[in-house]
Amino acid sequence: MKKTLLLILAAILLISFSAFAGGSGAAKKEITIAMIVKNIGNPFFDVVRKGWDEAVAELGVNDVWRGPEQPTPEGQIEIMESLIAQGVDGITYVGNDPQALAGVAQKAMKAGIKVNGWESGIVPNSRDISVEPVSAQTIGADQVKILAEQIGYKGEIAILSAAATMANQNTWIKYMKEELQKPEYKDMKLVAVVYGDDVREKSYNEALGLFKSFPNLRGIISPTTVGIAATGRAITDEGMIDKVELTGLGLPSEMYEYVMNGASKVFGLWNPKDLGYLNAYVTYRLVTGEITGKPGEKFEAGRLGSYTIEPQEGVTNGLVYMGSLYRFDKNNVGEFKDEL
């Protein structure tokens, strides 16, 4: 009885193997481009996806949109392995920890897949091209400028970031610190950098911790959409409006309430929808061979117009900047709150 069943199972296995032994090398006709985001269920990436979908429809390609449930590099590595196994043509990723993703990204490139690393740290040989929304220096410096205007260039300030491994945030913080060295900020003092891990509760608690540890705190910069919204809530709950000013990178839909009640009078962001759109175009152009990712190459990106690939320090592959930081305040946040 048992032996018969085993034999049948073995036969099934053999048949299925032989059935596909010849079929696995079939040529692909259609182009498939894939996006790996930091995690799913993150509203920022939901908006990015709208632009991505728009571009995918314009280009007439297949697409895959994936991200791990938790923002961990382990989850992203597994997804990239799976995309390599599927044999997609191009991958765009925004790494939770670009160092950790470099190995698997190299494997993808070795497998002939074009790789576009979207706004994350510089790791040599881990992508064909980088796309960044705004130059990191501008993002960092602009946030300091906005906060300085709010608090009159005076007082203690703190930064509430995402996870300590996230290269974007770290680079921006580096430029914030650089900006703070300038003479006009001599009366501003950065007292703490804390991490909310892009988790609402943790960010909220970190904000409360800042109020407690630094009673003279005048301002908080939170260069992450989860962090700034959680801090906005903390400022509102604790009655700190006008005592502590808040700025950073946020989504109009989540920040509308806090802009209107004064918890965060001005915050910045690029347009995530355009970012998704641009990333799809860049990856597509790489796959078709119109660009290779070398500095100096030019390409068209649909409604966003034409771009030139710029050189990037420390690596051979080039970089595309989408534009500059956009400021949201009482006057314009309403227009965007349903979209972003």
Binding site: M1, K2, L5, L9, I12, L13, S16, F17, A19, F20, A21, G23, S24, A26, I40, V64, R66, P68, E69, T72, P73, E74, G75, I77, E78, I79, E81, S82, I84, A85, Q86, G87, D97, Q99, A100, A102, G103, A163, A164, T165, Y195
Partner: protein
């Protein structure tokens, strides 16, 4: 009496969980092979083992521990701590291999500490390892804070990412299979292995019969720490850097794999090949669903359902065995011979 009851376990029972698992495995692979033309590509199948090989290493020793009726919740935390110690020492300038050895030592010591407290305080392993689950992870956070450390040399990266020569066979897969065979032999072919089952069937009887239960438990938990340390070296190498939260949540996945493999959480029942099969089943399900871009949450649903089925099936088997035992006892009373069937004979299914 429970021990004798278990000895009659499954006897000529055809519907064993491991066998059902094998069928699920074959059928799943069979159907998946029709859904995606890349599914059966040899390189893909081998590459997918990278994702679960570290968990697989720890699952081997977890099998022993659960068969004795204990559990180790702290494995992933020990992995985290070992990995962080390894990376911190490397960053401080220590040779990577020496640092790996120290990391391995830290894991082993953590495991020893678990075993020491459990056998001294005589509290359930669940409580002690749950406490150390937080404790070890906490130390990892204290050491590395919010930083990540990487930049390891290529020779070290080979461990977790490398292949055997030019073949598509990952080094770590071969390493795991060798260890799995050794673990299987120890569990099913040695006196020590039989003792492991005996402790799971009835720990008190074992104490009373002079079996050094405490020493064996201490050994198992120490080896668990060692395996966690080993898994830490591999995952640090595969990912190429480490953070204090590395391998978070692995303990649940590892325990799930072991239970799904037919090891009963109450101890005394389970086979090594069932666990190995379960490792590959969970791995191929993840791979198959991933190939179709099905999000990870569905994976949780699939493993959850399989786990429930496995527990129900095991329960059914136990009920069947109990009924059989009662019948046998009734027969004995009528003067018939009790069918002698030592459990180790069942071990060599491989």
């Amino acid at each position: 009496m429970k021990g004798k009851n278990q000895q009659l376990k499954a006897g000529s029972f055809v519907v064993q969980w491991e066998f059902i698992l094998l069928m699920i495995f074959v059928l799943f692979n069979f159907f998946m092979s029709f859904t995606h033309s890349n599914y059966l590509r040899v390189t893909n199948l081998f590459d997918t083992t990278f994702i679960f090989s570290e968990k697989a290493l720890v699952a081997l020793i977890m099998t022993f521990i659960i068969i004795t009726g204990n559990i180790d919740i702290s494995v992933a935390s020990m992995m985290g701590l070992s990995s962080v110690v390894l990376a911190t020492l490397f960053r401080a300038g220590m040779n990577i291999w020496l640092a790996s050895l120290v990391g391995l030592g830290v894991g082993t010591f953590c495991g020893f500490l678990n075993g020491f407290i459990i056998t001294r305080v005589r509290l359930p392993a669940l409580i002690i390892t749950l406490a150390n689950f937080s404790f070890y992870r906490g130390i990892a956070y204290v050491i590395l804070g919010d930083e990540a450390v990487g930049g390891f040399p290529d020779a070290f990266l080979y461990l977790g990412r490398g292949y055997i020569g030019n073949s598509p066979i990952p080094f770590i897969l071969v390493f795991f299979i060798v260890l799995a065979v050794i673990a299987g032999i120890i569990l099913h072919r040695t006196k020590f292995g039989r003792t492991i089952y005996a402790i799971g069937w009835n720990e008190h009887t074992c104490y009373a019969s002079g079996i050094p239960v405490d020493r064996i438990k201490l050994l198992l938990f120490t080896v668990s720490g060692f395996m966690a340390g080993l898994a830490a070296v591999f995952i640090t190498s595969r990912i190429g850097n480490t953070r204090p939260n590395i391998a978070t949540g692995f303990e649940l996945e590892i325990i799930t794999i072991v239970i799904l493999g037919g090891v009963m959480i109450t101890g005394g029942v389970g086979k090594m090949w069932g666990v190995v099969l379960s490792i590959f089943l969970v791995g191929t399900i993840r791979y198959g669903l991933g190939l179709h871009n099905i999000p990870g949450q569905y994976m949780l649903i699939v493993t959850g359902s399989l786990l429930i089925i496995s527990i129900l099936m095991n329960n059914l088997i136990v009920n069947y065995v109990e009924a059989r035992y009662l019948r046998a006892m009734a027969a004995l009373e009528q003067g018939e011979e009790l069918p002698a069937e030592p459990p180790e004979k069942k071990g060599g299914d491989r």
